[in-house]
């Protein structure tokens, strides 16, 4: 618990001081307000230039889906799309803990941090709009949950991919 909180504190400080790192690049501006604007622009650029993600979506073997568009996966994760085209109910399975690949996917594809989506799911759940996803750690437990739940879709890091999994390609 203490270690987790410590790591979170470091991540927070990283977020807080990200604009300050820009000092190195913005030293040429002598006027304070120009330097300040430069630092925030730097922080924005760092954010915009996020890398891709090294993870994959998998579905239950009986789910006849091989590709999803960005908009489709957005609709699924925001709980607006509840059923597959064959009427089977969609069950989302995701990691509960900070997983780099999952976080990178969220930032790159949805432009959201995972905790924002988590809050959206909480609101939907406690206001009766939709049921929460299933949370599983580590990846092999997540894979088990997807394989045993008809209609399930789950996210795993690429290094957890094994033979026999049904991968879903995410297209722009």
């Amino acid at each position: 618990m203490k270690i987790t909180l410590g790591l979170k504190l470091i991540q927070n400080l990283k977020g807080i001081f990200q604009p300050i790192v820009g000092v190195h690049f913005c030293g040429r501006y002598s006027e304070r307000r120009h330097a300040l604007v430069c630092r925030w622009l730097y922080a924005l650029l760092v954010t915009v230039s996020m890398p891709g993600w090294a993870g994959s979506w998998i579905v239950h073997p009986d789910t006849d889906v091989s590709a999803l568009s960005g908009k489709q996966i957005n609709n699924i994760l925001s709980l607006r799309k509840k059923n597959w085209p064959d009427d089977q109910r969609i069950t989302i399975v995701v990691p509960s803990k900070d997983v780099d690949e999952y976080r990178d996917f969220m930032i790159t594809q949805l432009r959201l941090f995972p905790y924002q989506l988590q809050r959206h799911w909480d609101r939907a759940n406690f206001s009766g709009k939709a049921s929460s996803p299933i949370f599983r750690d580590p990846p092999d437990e997540l894979i088990k949950a997807v394989m045993s739940t008809p209609g399930a879709i789950g996210f795993i890091p690429d290094d957890a991919i094994t033979e026999g999994l049904r991968l879903v390609q995410i297209t722009p």
Partner: protein
């Protein structure tokens, strides 16, 4: 219908033999929240004047299950103690059937029946706490405690849809049902001499929302409309002969633009209340001391228009759930009388009870996926957000005051 549904649910759960059976067949989740409130003047969420009030406790358990691929059942029981008026009972917060009629990549249509949540103003994404009902730390210009109970749930039905025009998607929801106007709401009218007792009341409520979402999902623009009536015909306050029907409608325009770290929310509310009222007598109620109403707040056939505006900006510190926001909100009960001076001259009630301006700064931090901490410091001018029952001596309500709310939440 609710007793029937509840009986059916209890019979079904009774037929399951073990807790493991329940957990394997139902999605079970819950939340618990404790709030701490301090104000330098006035009482908000309990006796918060010069001491810390802990009169904000909520917890609930949610059971959900798909009965078919398209039909979902949800029940949620909850306990709420948020000020002097809550009766501290565990109550049924949700009991609904949710059905998805059809959906494809661009369109969907669904509906809910039972005890459901209206979505008036819910949930703006700046300041709410996922596990908490509205209005604890939300901008008070929009969510005063006097209408909190209206937002909790209604008994009725809703229809929701989504469709696309070009790259934009559009969503709409219609809710219709009966709402229990809680004691906080009714007691405010009682203090004004417009109800015979502070007891709760049941009235109809209609709510409509239409929302447009940009292709990348980062911009939401929408409109919310809510209307409900309040009939106090034939009621008699202690010193007042009263005949009144009271209709209130509210239009809320909202816009939210989201970047990865930054977010900007702007909301504007315009509302009206039309009272067809005949009042004779002094109108002073027995529980009200000091400058209470003289029975002239609403004269026959009078309409008054109220308005609110709310601006807030939020910054998210990287990926781990720390977000900080600043905001400003303002509301007036009567647009023609922004400082309540006219009504003060007419009725003797302090003008600050009829407007509110609030500047605030706050943060929310998700310590772990289960635990979250939120705090908000506010500076107020005016006091229209206060529940009269918590501040029964209207003469002593201050027009300039500040508040600190801290809320700790746990969910599973």
């Amino acid at each position: 219908m609710f007793k029937l549904l509840l009986s059916g649910l209890l019979l079904y759960v009774w037929s399951l033999h073990t807790l493991a059976d329940v957990k394997s067949q139902w999605d079970v989740s819950g939340f618990a929240t404790q709030g701490f409130t301090y104000t330098n003047d006035n009482n908000y969420l309990g006796k918060s004047d010069d001491s810390i009030s802990t009169d904000f406790t909520e917890f609930g358990v949610n059971l959900s299950r798909y009965l078919t691929e398209h039909l979902r059942f949800t029940a949620q029981g909850a306990y709420r103690n948020s000020n002097a008026l809550d009766d501290d009972d565990f109550f049924l917060d949700l009991l609904l059937l949710d059905y998805q009629f059809f959906e494809d990549d661009t369109r969907s249509l669904g509906g809910q029946l039972g005890r459901i949540k209206p979505r008036f103003g819910l949930y703006n994404t700046i300041a709410d706490i996922s596990a908490v009902w509205p209005t604890a730390v939300l901008p008070q210009a929009f969510y005063p405690s006097s209408i909190r109970s209206i937002l909790l749930h209604i008994d009725g039905a809703s229809v929701n849809g989504q469709w696309a025009i070009g790259d934009w998607s559009y969503r709409s929801e219609i809710h219709y049902g009966t709402v229990e106007l809680g004691e906080t709401f009714v007691s405010d009218r009682w203090y004004l001499g417009l109800a015979e007792s502070p007891a709760s009341d049941i009235e109809d409520l209609l709510q409509l929302r239409v929302e447009a979402v940009s292709p990348d999902g980062s911009l939401n623009i929408g409109i919310d409309y809510m209307e409900f009536g309040f009939d106090v015909t034939g009621r008699t306050a202690s010193n007042t002969e009263l005949s009144s029907t009271f209709d209130r409608y509210t239009v809320l325009l909202f816009m939210s633009k989201r970047w990865l770290h930054w977010q900007l929310d702007v909301e504007g509310l315009y509302g009206g209340q039309k009272a067809n009222t005949t009042v004779t007598g002094s109108g002073i109620n027995s529980g009200c001391t000091g400058g209470c109403n003289q029975g002239l707040t609403f004269t026959a056939g009078e309409s008054n228009l109220n308005s609110s505006a709310f601006y807030a900006s939020l910054y998210r510190f990287y990926e781990n759930g720390l977000s900080v926001y600043v905001g400003y909100g303002a509301s007036v009960e009567d647009s023609d009388d922004p400082k309540g001076e006219a009504i003060e001259n007419e009725s003797g009630i302090a003008g600050q009870l009829f407007y509110l301006r609030q500047s605030y700064v706050g943060f929310r931090y998700d310590l772990t996926p289960q635990w979250s901490l939120a705090a908000k410091a506010s500076y107020f001018q005016g006091a229209s957000n206060l529940a009269r029952i918590e501040n029964s001596n209207l003469d002593q309500i201050k027009s300039h005051w500040h508040a600190l709310n801290i809320v700790v939440s746990y969910k599973f």
